[in-house]
């Protein structure tokens, strides 16, 4: 299945892009998607430890299972004020 990953805030700079299109076996989880995405970006990047994931704009845990066509958003916290 194909999904799109949207990277936010500092992740865009780390990966060198805000949009990643990746292919995953069916049954893949958010964690699987992140593992794959880390090696399929313009820059090799490491997912931060503090990270929020949302599938199709809805918060999910890292064990959530993805479906074909899903959009996975990865949002790190920011804390400037």
């Amino acid at each position: 299945m194909k999904i799109v990953i949207k990277l936010f805030a500092g992740l865009r700079d780390r990966a060198g892009t805000g949009d990643l299109f990746i292919e995953l076996p069916s049954g893949a989880t958010v964690k699987d998607a992140i593992d794959t995405a880390q090696h399929n970006a313009p820059k090799e990047w490491t997912a931060p430890t503090s990270l929020m994931a949302a599938i199709n704009n809805e918060y999910v845990g890292f064990n959530a299972v993805l479906s074909d066509g899903d959009e996975l958003a990865l949002i790190p916290p920011v804390s400037g004020g």
Binding site: S50, Y59, I75, S79, G81
Partner: protein, 283 residues
């Protein structure tokens, strides 16, 4: 919230564009006049938050900040001006706010918010607004607001990115979304990475709008929703979030039942002596 029974003719005129709105009206305006809001941080976010709440007629505004105005603040912190450089931010803030609205009652807390003083300050206000510039204060204010049963309007910024949400006790909190703080160095501060000067204006005015809605009990606050803004692409999106049953603070079996050591929690040690040079907490 104090009950305000009448408004002066000047107040009726000043707030006429509110009063004419059916969702505000005289009743709503008097609610605002009788309410109190605590703003943590008189910096980038705190500036527009405080200004818009002051001119909206919020009766009492408390401001917590221990910092002084630095030249590098003036690119975005619209409470402060060139002549304020070196002054305590709370004093500069009070002067600016009173020049906009002399009826305002401003309460200054010229100190950092800590586990020792948070529960003496936060319970005195109707709504808490977070414009803190570091993770320790962000988690501290989240925890203290929940423990005090106060709605918290949170906002944060970095580079071109902003986040905002409203946490109503029992409906989720910052820890539900980000249970663990990032280790030191993982997420840079505005002093380290920069922030677009207009961005705190965008997020701060959203926070001020949320505060007014919560005080008036109108509309749908960003409860259960996290707004994220990417100003570079001007992409606004609202993510559905929910109370995490395993949340250590507001979950079903909480382990955080009182304030903790947030420096230790975030893995940082703030030196007791102010470092020389560019203040890193001046955002």
């Amino acid at each position: 919230m104090k009950e305000i029974k009448t408004m002066t003719p000047r107040q009726v005129q000043r707030y006429s564009r509110h009063i004419i709105m059916p969702d505000v009206g005289s009743v709503g305006q008097r609610k605002l006049l009788g309410s109190s809001v605590l703003i943590v941080g008189a910096g980038g976010l705190g500036s527009p938050i405080a200004l818009y709440l002051a001119i909206a007629g919020v009766g009492t505004i408390g401001i917590v900040d221990f910092d002084t105005v630095d030249l590098s603040n003036l690119q975005r912190q619209i409470l402060h001006q060139e002549s304020d450089i070196g002054r305590p931010k709370v004093e500069s803030a009070k002067e600016t706010l009173l020049s906009y609205n002399p009826d305002l009652n401003v309460i200054l807390h010229d100190e950092p918010i800590t586990s020792d003083n948070a529960m003496d300050i936060i319970p005195n206000y109707d709504v808490i607004v977070n414009g803190a510039d570091n993770f320790q204060a962000r988690y501290l204010v989240n925890d203290a607001s929940f423990l005090a049963g106060k709605p918290l309007v949170d906002g944060s910024i970095l580079l071109f990115d902003g986040q905002a949400s409203t946490y109503i006790p029992g409906q989720g909190c910052y820890r539900c979304i980000f249970p663990e703080p990032p280790p030191p160095g993982e997420v840079p501060s505005c002093a380290e990475a920069g922030v677009l000067g207009a961005l705190p204006g965008m997020i701060g005015t959203i926070q001020a709008t949320e505060v007014i809605k919560v005080l008036l009990g109108i509309g749908d606050p960003l409860a259960g929703r996290l707004l994220i803004i990417d100003a570079l692409s001007m992409d606004f999106r609202v993510l559905k979030v929910r109370r995490n049953l395993d949340c250590p603070l507001c979950g079903d079996n909480p382990t955080v039942t009182e304030l903790i050591d947030y420096d230790a929690f975030c893995g940082v040690n703030i030196p007791t002596v102010e470092p020389v040079g560019e203040p890193v907490t001046a955002d």
